[in-house]
Symmetry: C2
Subunit: 122 residues, 2 copies
């Protein structure tokens, strides 16, 4: 969609849009990946996405809901049960994000090595 020529002149546009992809939030990507992999309940997400606090998870889910990437299902029970689900739109984002996750898995070692070399060397 964006060719070389367009790219040359429409920088402002996509810089805004990439931020729309929510790269700005530290946790968003991981929450979406977790949801795509089948985690649904609040507590489930809380443990899957290791290190996230309840407060931040709530905020993250709310903003994903606001952006139409996630739907929230509240079951009127006691104790309460709430399930989150990726929307159609959310699922389209899941694939590319998962690719990033996979990249991290596969190249973590290399990054660590490079980092150590950089720190030792100079």
């Amino acid at each position: 969609m964006v060719n070389k020529a367009e790219w040359t002149t429409s920088t402002a546009i996509w810089s805004t849009r990439v931020s729309l992809a929510r790269m700005d939030n530290k946790w968003t990507a991981m929450v979406v990946i977790a949801l795509g992999r089948g985690a649904r309940r609040f507590g489930e997400l809380r443990t899957k996405v290791e290190g996230i606090s309840a407060k931040v998870l709530t905020e993250t889910l709310r903003s994903l809901e606001r952006d139409g990437l996630v739907v929230r299902h509240v079951h009127a029970e006691m104790p309460p049960r709430v399930e989150y689900e990726l929307t159609e739109l959310g699922r389209t984002l899941h694939a590319p994000l998962q690719a990033i996750g996979r990249w991290a898995e596969e190249h973590a070692e290399e990054v660590l090595t490079a980092r150590a070399a950089y720190d030792t060397g100079r």
Copy 2:
């Protein structure tokens, strides 16, 4: 590489690794995308990645260099010319990141619409 079963038990590992993918830095993804698309000089990146300050661009490039994703070429000239280039490793990250960028391009409208609906509705 990570199947459903592994995923269930190895959460801690990949949460660390995803952060290694540098999702934490607000600008990293955009800098890598810009580099992959051919931007090379400091000033060029500065204008392509709209809104980034010189300070932050420098820091971002340094950390990418440290992680072995980018190499820095200094040309001993006056005025100085410095070119940045994705390494082999950096190029492997470029593809998935570009996919995210493309997603943002394609779905920005939907997100904006959902957001407006959410804000108006409730």
